[in-house]
Symmetry: C2
Subunit: 380 residues, 2 copies
């Protein structure tokens, strides 16, 4: 069996594991970026080298996603949370309304923040179903008058993922792809705007990708303060003020890895599918012990969320997994349970090892009627 190190067995919900070869290059860059001769932390954001970093990164993103040269690729700060507020601050200033899907924890946060700066309409809410499924197209209430339509492609907490593109073609479609951008190909030209913080599939925490269609950008106001002004950021190629140089360089290395080592989004999607399949299989093969949280049709290829018979057994599972070298498997603090996040950086072998572990755990664990942890010492 392939020997994996601790970083490679990290199933954290985010910041997530990065590819080993990217970590190695960043390890080197911390003391010396080869082509510059200085630590990545001491290189000026106004240097020619960094302008090239941004230029190549923009190109790599467009190339990987199959987007035309007219698409703007921005690297901003503040995470998806800043985008939650920037959207209504930019688009709902004149009293217009926007349509939002509430499909889980993070779209709830998006709605909560956006409501402070504009008027929203709920296109659908999964709250009454405890966010265990996504809406059908027929269930969506979408207005042709909406300034934009917003949804989150992958709910990391609940492990739900849209496997289609919802929304009307006559309303600007805006999607938070924080947890699945660059994990698979998609019809990305159907979006007016896509945004994603880096710390899942793309890089370290501290930078957010914002991808704008030119015709959409031209409709945005240009008189806002620079830090919330998409025009100012686009015109400056993300160097409006000092950008997070290290985080942006890291993202460049991830895009190079996707382009050169993986061979594009089609290949990374296959790899991600393999990981998801093997974990969902481990769940379904032991359906009396493991319960997947999401409706099967809406299962996420990024976050495999499941429960064990009770909270005590879940704790025992996490402890045994920790001893076996796995980390980051605890579910989100809002719902508990188990979450295996299998972002781009994670090797197929890691998911296979976890699936093996799950099988062994379910077999070796012989619960009494009381399912107490006290019965577990036999398991190691």
């Amino acid at each position: 069996m392939m020997k994996l190190n601790a970083n490679q067995l990290n199933f954290s919900g985010g910041p997530g594991a990065l590819p080993e070869s990217v970590l190695q290059q960043l390890h080197t860059a911390m003391l010396c970026v080869p082509e510059v001769g200085l630590s990545i932390l001491g290189i000026s954001h106004r240097s020619e080298w960094f302008a090239q970093v941004v230029h190549e990164l923009e190109d790599n993103i467009r190339h990987l996603m199959g987007l035309p040269a007219s698409t703007r690729v921005l690297m901003m700060q503040g995470g998806a949370t800043q985008q939650f507020s920037m959207l209504p601050m930019n688009l709902l200033r004149n009293g217009q309304s926007a349509d939002y899907i509430h499909s889980g924890y993070w779209s709830g946060k998006a709605i909560h923040e956006a409501e402070k700066s504009g008027k929203l309409q709920l296109a659908w809410s999964g709250k009454s179903d405890q966010f265990a499924r996504l809406p059908t197209d027929a269930e969506l209430q979408l207005s042709a008058q909406a300034a934009y339509f917003h949804y989150i492609s992958n709910e990391t907490v609940e492990g739900l993922q849209f496997h289609r593109v919802p929304g009307r073609e006559d309303v600007p479609r805006i999607c938070d792809m924080s947890s699945d951008l660059l994990s698979a190909p998609g019809a990305f030209n159907r979006y007016a705007m896509i945004y994603a913080h880096a710390q899942k599939n793309i890089g370290p925490a501290g930078v957010t990708l914002v991808i704008l269609r030119d015709d959409f950008l031209s409709c945005l106001p240009s008189d806002l303060p620079g830090f919330i002004n998409y025009h100012a950021q686009a015109d400056a190629h993300s160097i409006y003020n000092t950008p997070p140089v290290f985080a942006i360089y890291s993202v460049l290395l991830v895009t190079r890895w996707l382009r050169d080592e993986i061979g594009g989004l089609h290949n990374i999607a296959k790899r991600n599918q393999q990981k998801a399949d093997c974990l969902y299989q481990a769940i379904d093969n032991h359906a009396d012990f493991y319960r997947g949280r999401a409706a099967v049709a809406d299962r996420s290829n990024m976050n495999v969320v499941f429960n064990l018979p009770n909270a005590e057994i879940e704790q025992a599972f996490l402890q045994a997994a920790h001893q076996a070298g796995f980390s980051g498997l605890n579910g989100h603090r809002s719902i508990g349970g188990i979450r295996a996040s299998i972002y781009n950086g994670l090797e197929v072998a890691a998911a296979e090892q976890l699936a093996d572990f799950m099988q062994t755990f379910s077999k070796r664990y012989k619960p009494s009627r009381s399912h107490t942890v006290g019965l577990l010492p036999a398991f190691a």
Copy 2:
């Protein structure tokens, strides 16, 4: 003579050189943070370890600056530029006005951004003097009705530094200390708020320190969107949403270095003074060749800005300095000339070597009446 590596001869205006021992620890952390066993890039911001990082960092800042426990220390994103806008967005919503000093390039930027969100009064402008000096107290036009008074303690572009605390005691004093925070002790309790991006003396680009007096925070609105809401950030101890984990950890290491290796702000100030003295001396000893830009009384201990007889000789200087191993010496693109930034991370030996180089260059360079670069080949 002490042998310095390329990072230690980096006089960049920012991002600036970090201490060698911090770089070494970050080099290690890129693959494995010793006490965690994972890459710094894969550690959850919700982990207990990271909560401790933030907790110790807050304490270290208060300890180094001599501030009471009631002071809030925030780590935000968006740089000083975001703070430029957040101040009026938080404090001038009801039509009040604020007093600003315009002492150089960066205070000009602060004013430019702030004007988009509120009403300002100019307390003084150095524009007619080409920003070659700072105001006297008598020159400042300060209003008792101002919502706050804002200035920048060190103008990195022009090399000007306030060596006193301007402003009224009955108006909240807010200072952008981006380029000199933690470089020397100060009367920090006289400020309602201090902010500073990290990439000069404190850490890498991508995080901004915001230090707020509790009584001032309590006067700020709490209904703003989270990413521009000081209360939300303070209540969450900077983990309102995913913070820039790597940048924050780097800042922690710099504060440990200041505390344990340097021995506090008094000691780092002595070191910074030594560096500044030796470079200004090199200028003053060859006053026919080097011209310091700033009025002597307002000279910065962080950015030594000077000119040579003409732009061609300046280019020759930069080229020869580059060959001698120095980097980052070009002046800001807005004014040209030479700038030696001597932030905390730079060793005294590096400034001494640069001073030696300046002396040699001025002696060996024998300008003709036309001061052309063509005469330079003799210099190597």
